[in-house]
Amino acid sequence: MRFGSTIIVALRALRRNKLRSILTALGIIIGVGAVIAMVSIGNGAKSQVEAQVASLGQNVVTVFSGSFTGGGMRGGWGSAPSLTVDDANAIAANVPNILGVSPEVRDRNQILANGLNWNTQVIGESPDYPQIRSWKIATGSVFTEQDVRSVAKVAVIGKTVADQLFPEQEAVGQTIRIRNIPFKVVGQLEPKGFNLFGQDQDDIVIVPYTSHMKRLSRRTNINSIMIQAASPEVIDRVQQEITDLLTQRRNGKEPDFTVRNQVELAQTATATTRTMTIFLGITAGISLIVGGIGIMNIMMVSVTERTREIGIRLAVGAHGRDVLLQFLIEAIVLSSMGGVLGIVVGVASSEAVKYFLGWPVLVSSFWAFASFAVSAAVGMFFGFYPARQAAQLDPIDALRYE
């Protein structure tokens, strides 16, 4: 009924005490600003880690060979010569919902070319490999199925290797020598940068797995198999079917392999940053509550200081409810004003962190809205007690109050 008047009254009261209003709102401004800045920084870190995880490839399931045990010594995962190209072919032929399979063989070799040499990782893969790793070819092309069948002497190299062996030269079309065998460079990969563990992913030479096994490492077994599932939804089923298939192929012997998927890795990697975001958020949330207590404190003082004013209002016809509403609106206006300014401060400081420190930040509109809503609620919650005190004053006592 008199809601409109009460809003006018509350706004006039706040305007009368501009400095105090701003100082009161400052607690909320800092609280909301801190929440937004902290969550933005946390989210930025999380998205960076997620991007690094994504750089490992899309929906990748990896089979590692088992551990080798000999003379009482047990090797780690991948030490047993238990996975074969046949296993990889069986997976490609029998497991549904997969987009690509690549048997993988790894070793390190000294590469010679162009009068220079460089020690790097040489891996044997299938032509599916760049697609599995979401890795684009910068120049040239990837080797073909035909190259795999013909055990061709062709290679795709990473940017680091190209820079080291062919500075200021086009690498594609040149020849590199691995173990004195000449390989023709048919493609160069786009740079991918460092992985989660700080390794340079571009320091690599990729050859057909057949060429690696027959010409370089002279092995009959492979280190691992990379499989790309069709979508994140099927990744668990694909993992299970691969496990079942390989177990079946072992004819009831102890499984000598392990199957991992990328989601597990992503979870481990993002767990730390998620914990960090939660802690930052909690810290900032506490400062928001402290801001709310600040509002309550000032409102309590304000009620005492304005006792005579309340008395006048009651004398000229204000109901207790009008006074309650007035002080409540004052508190809510203060805190939501603080909320809006806090959002500005939070976004500005996030941008400042991005600009001056170069940290990745991700301002979330959800958190901006949530912290605004929380600040308004804080105002209502902490404003209620002082407002009720004001509303319950006796007009005669309030008018006599010195």
Binding site: I8, R12, R313, L399
Partner: protein, 254 residues
């Protein structure tokens, strides 16, 4: 019908151990257009009587009819509405809201009215009330920019703005010098001439002489209730004061 009817009003303050019988059986009738001063020493019960008249407090026993309405049956909020519509208050200490313009101070009772008009309507009514007390040109001033007499006139304008049945003034000249007191009494006399009923508490005899009727209280009872015979008129008193001032200056120059 009288505007105010008090019948055998008693007020007892019970603070636990001690019972204070502040008002002991007061019966007073007040008709439209009256201008009454309530006088008495402190502790005589005049403030309690004013609080009762102002519907800020309910009597312990007795009947109070304001404009025919029995206030003993009303709750806190209904009393507030009654104060808003039928009563105007003027206090000794002015009690204006600080850092609030004269106009906004005068608008205050309208904000709590049950039938409040548009903001423009409120503004016009507030301006008219300020004009009535001769302060139309001070609407935008803050209380701190006004003299004591001007502040009290703003308070009177605030009391008038809802066109009350009765104007209640609690020692309205208590904080003012004699010249400003006469000025404020002039405003009251003018309003009374226009038909407004006024009750004021004072302990100054010469101020009471500006009123039409004097009620003297002692120990919670009315001991004297007389019409003022030789009433002071503010304009004449003001001329006397000015003349005296002029004389003082002439003497000072010699």
């Amino acid at each position: 019908m009288p505007v105010v009817q008090l019948k055998d009003i008693h007020k007892i303050y019970d603070s636990g151990e001690v019972k204070v019988h502040a008002v002991r059986g007061v019966s007073v009738e007040l008709h439209r257009g009256e201008f009454m001063a309530v006088m008495g020493a402190s502790g005589s019960g005049k403030s309690t009587l004013m609080n009762t008249l102002g519907c800020l407090d309910r009597p312990t026993s007795g009947v109070y009819l304001l404009d025919g309405i029995d206030i003993s049956k009303l709750d806190r909020n209904e009393l507030a509405d009654l104060r808003n519509e039928k009563l105007g208050f003027v206090f000794q200490g002015f009690n204006l809201l600080a850092r609030t313009t004269a106009l906004e101070n005068v608008e205050l009772p309208m904000l709590y009215g049950r039938h409040r008009g548009s903001r423009r309507d409120m503004r016009e009514r507030a301006e008219r009330a300020l004009a009535t007390v001769g302060l139309a040109d001070r609407a935008g001033h803050f209380p701190s920019q006004l003299s004591g007499g001007q502040q009290q006139r703003v308070a009177i304008a605030r009391a008038l703005v809802n066109q009350p049945q009765v104007l209640l003034a609690d020692e309205p000249t208590g904080n003012l010098d004699s010249k400003t007191s006469v000025e404020v009494m002039g405003v009251f006399q003018k309003l009374n001439d226009e038909g407004i009923t006024i009750v004021m508490v004072t302990h100054e005899l010469d101020i009471a002489r500006f009123c039409k009727r004097n009620l003297i209280m002692r120990d919670g009872r009315v001991v004297s209730d007389v019409q003022v015979g030789n009433r002071s008129i503010a304009s004449i008193e003001m001329q006397k004061l000015l003349a005296a001032e002029a004389d003082a200056k002439l003497i000072g120059q010699n």
